[in-house]
Structures are given as C-alpha cells and as structure tokens.
Subunit: 322 residues, 2 copies
Amino acid sequence: MNAVSFIVPVQEDIEEVEALMRAQAQNYHSDLDAALELLISAGGKRIRPALTLWVGRMLDAPHTELISLAAAIEMLHTATLVHDDLIDGSLLRRGMPTLNSRWSPGATVLTGDFVFARAAKLAADTNSVEVMGLFANTLTVIVDGEITQLLGDRCMANRDQYLRRIYAKTASLFETSARAAALLSQSPQSVSDTLGRFGYDIGMAFQIIDDILDFVSDPSTLGKPVGSDLRQGIITLPAMLYAQAHPTLLEAQALLTGECLEDEDQQNKLIDLIRASDAIQQSHAEAIQYVENALAELKSLPETPERHALEDLAHYIVDRKL
Amino acid sequence: MNAVSFIVPVQEDIEEVEALMRAQAQNYHSDLDAALELLISAGGKRIRPALTLWVGRMLDAPHTELISLAAAIEMLHTATLVHDDLIDGSLLRRGMPTLNSRWSPGATVLTGDFVFARAAKLAADTNSVEVMGLFANTLTVIVDGEITQLLGDRCMANRDQYLRRIYAKTASLFETSARAAALLSQSPQSVSDTLGRFGYDIGMAFQIIDDILDFVSDPSTLGKPVGSDLRQGIITLPAMLYAQAHPTLLEAQALLTGECLEDEDQQNKLIDLIRASDAIQQSHAEAIQYVENALAELKSLPETPERHALEDLAHYIVDRKL
C-alpha cells in the first residue's frame, strides 16, 4: 500500500491547506514568515490533514471550515514538534535542520508559541465552539504527555504507561483530526464517536510503527541512531515485549525494574537483541490489531469511495516503510 | 486612588476566577498542578480579570461564561510570563522565584504550553466563536511583539516602534479583556468597539507607567536593577523623551542612532540623568492622556456604578506606586 490512493484525490485540498498554513505568518515579523516556510516545506506526509479531509468529504462538512480545521491540526502538530525538538536538542527532523539547530532557544520557544497561536486562530475559523474545545483539550493532553515523559515514567517497561504515552503523543491528535471533521458536518453523535474511535485506533497503530522503526530503520533514514528512544530511557513496545520474554537477561531485568541503562555497550547489546527478536513482529501484530479495530469501526458506515480512502489510509499506516 | 474601590465589589468573582484557574491542572501531571498553584499564588493585581468582570457586569454578560473569559485572559497572561521569564533568564517576578529559576528549561517551556492550552480551553468555554477568534489573534499579536523585540528593534529610540511594542506587550490584552466581555453580552457592535478602545487606552497607560517604574522604583521592590530595560537595549518612553531633549549628549546620541550602550558606566550615567529629568513627568503626562481618552470613551455609556468602577480602574492605573 502506498500513499497515492488516499493522497492524490485530496491533493488539491492539501495544497489549499498548506497555502492557508503559509499565509498565517503574513503581516508578522519576517523571520516568523521564514521560519514557518521552513517548517512547512520540510514536509511530512500530511496524514492528519488527509484524515480530516476524507472524514469531512464523507460527511459533507462545509469546505472552507474543513480546510481551516485541517490547517489547524497540522499547525498544532508542527508547533509541538518545534518545542519537542528544542527540548530534546534534536538537530535534524525528516533529514532537515530543525529550527533550534539554527535559532536561539528564545526565538525557537516564541516561534512555537506563534505557531500555536495561529493554530488556535485556524481552529476558531471553523466557527465551531465544539471543535475549539476539542482542539484545546487535545493540546492539553499532548503537553501533559510530554511533561509526564520528561519528568518521570522513564526506564520502566510498563504497558499502561506506554499506552497512555502513545495516546497523548499521537493517537489523541489523530482522534481529534477525525472527530472534529465529523463535528463540522451535521452527522449524529454516534457517527462522530465512530470516527473518533477510528482516528484513535489508527493513531495508536501509527505510533507503534514509529516505535518499531526507531529500532529497525537505517539510521541515515531516521536521522538519529538506532534505538534512540531506549537510549533516552523511553521504553517502547518492542523493548517491553523483548524484556518480558527474556526476564533473566541482565539488560532486560533493568527495564523490568525501571533501572536506567546508562552504559552504552549494554544499550547497544540490548538494541541488537531487540532488532533480531520476535518482539518486532509481535509489536507489528499489535499495530495491525489496532488497524483491524479501526476498519471494523468503519463497517457501520455506508460503503462509499470516501470510506474506501479511509480504509486505504488505515492500511498504509501499518505498511509504511517496513 | 487605591485598588479597593474597583476590586472589593468583584472580589468574590475574582476568587471564582482564581479557583477556576487552579482547577485547570487537576487530572494532569502533579507537577503541573504544583506549578500552576505557584504561578497563581504569586498573585498579581488581577487587573485584567477585574476589567473583564466590570465590563461584563455593566452589559449583563452571562455569569459563567464571563468567569471563564476572565480566567482565560489571566491564564493567557500567565503563560506569556512563563515563557518570557525563561527567555529573559529572570529569576524573580513580583519578588517570588520564577518557574525557570527552579525547573529545567524543557519543563518550563512545556508548563507554559500547558497554561496556553488551558487558556484556550477556558476561552472555548465562553461558547463564543467571536471571543475565541479574538483570543487567538491577541495571542498572535503578543508573541509577534516578543519576537520583534527579541530579533530586532533594539537600542533605537523610535516612537512608532515603542507604541507598537507596548500595544503588543500589554494594550492588546487589555483591549481584548474589555472587548471580549462586551461580545459575551448582547450589546451592539458600537458598545464593544467603545469598550475595546477603553481597554486599549488604559493598557497603553499601564505599560507607560510600568516603563516609568523601571526607572524610578526602588530596585528591591522591582526585583531587578533600575533601568533594566535600557540595559537590555529596550528603549522606553522616558529614555526616548530624554534622548530627544538632549541630542548633544553622547549617551543620548547612541539612542537616537540605534547604537547599543554596552558600557555599564555609560548606562548608569544615562539612567541617573533620566531619573532626575523632566522625561519622567512628561512620560507620566502621556499616560494620563491615554487615561483621559479612556474616560472620554466611557462618556457615551449610561452613568452606572459599573461605569464608575471602570473609571476608578482607569484612574488607578496612572496613580499606582508613583
């Protein structure tokens, strides 16, 4: 599955979304304009806007408000990346230099704030109080998740913590991308609930796949060393499954008892073991299960080309790059 | 004029606003709860919520939404202070340790983001799309002003730049505090415009007075050295008026040509000269003129106790601590 089947038919709308995003720094400090251009042209698959656009199309949401919503979602995502990269000290994202690699910390903080502000404005442009509230709550969940990751919950293999973390980090915004688009239409509550669950499921799958890629990708594609999560004390699904299957291994015991592996040789050893283990396929199976749940949600909706596009999008999530 | 006349009658409402602010970190990471408690208990005069509450009372805005709006405004103000203090490296605010003096930069960035997120949620709780849009645009203006101050516009005495800066920094949120409260009522557009101008005028006066206090206050009250703006290359009204009146003085010439005064002896000399000069009284006269404009705006409204409270609030702004 490649992205073509669900991206090409909404390509024009995605370009409209990107143009609206770019327009957000007009009339403000020229460096903000340049920074936003850099952030937008760095790309990304625009999978969240695509999700919003297909749900909106399926349910006949009004076009202008739908474009504003898709832009709001992608701007919110962009703003969180700006602050994340600053906090993590990341110098590259998607192979491109991050803002914080070139700008002062202060300018980077403020640029992130600016992108948040414009995201909030775009959300207000949907003219829906419900969407605004959902949007603000989603931002809260994302930031709370980041704080929780920064201030605690490290080095411990714990499934509940892991699921909460990937919900906050990723699935919450996927859920909102789908649910908010449904709210813009005049669909009944049951339909927006269904699509919220669809977004949630594919979001959970998306983050699990990201967490697998952190182990199995080529470091040059990834732009960071293999197993960088584990090295930072962030225990993702593959590491957790491996540790649970090998409780007698010293390095695995550390994860099970919440002890941080500081020694680089130990880290390298554990990462190599995880890469070569069944934990990768088992993690993939869990992602596939989320996608199957997502597809089951859609069964209650009429079989339309838009539903098929959402199905393609769900399949793509577990097939990408693996 | 002390703050009693316009604070006491709305004290209960202000306590409701503070309780609502405190409630925003419940159910999230406990350190966020602690941080928010610290930020709220550090106090401040709550002059923006008081402005919102009096305008809302005057125009019969619905109580619950008005409380949400006042809390949203004060939370937005608080969030900007968290990031400002981090960027400036300030260790004290209102005599209390800043968040960044105790927390890591990353945790401080995220706490500011969290407070923004909750401010946006409270703004959404007003159930007014118009208020939401105004709120997001105000955040944009504030952040754009901070970026402009950080990346340029330094060391130059320029009235237009100064007025734009204090509008972005302060008057924009005062304007929104008043205008948004009017929007929550069913008042005609002309009334919300009038109150927006009232908020703008007292906001401009408020920042001019702050800029005067930066020169004339006791450093122990201020929590920072006298003339700290000038030392950082931020040229405020007293410095500008002094430089324009003494164009032959070497230190004043620097300000007029946009050359930064790096030498501490030169800074001290210029600050002492400004403190002892007419520029202080002339700046105060400009603040008074803004307040007079504000009072003139109110003349078109019925003479009620609420209007009198707003008049007291306007007078208080130019009388405080001088």
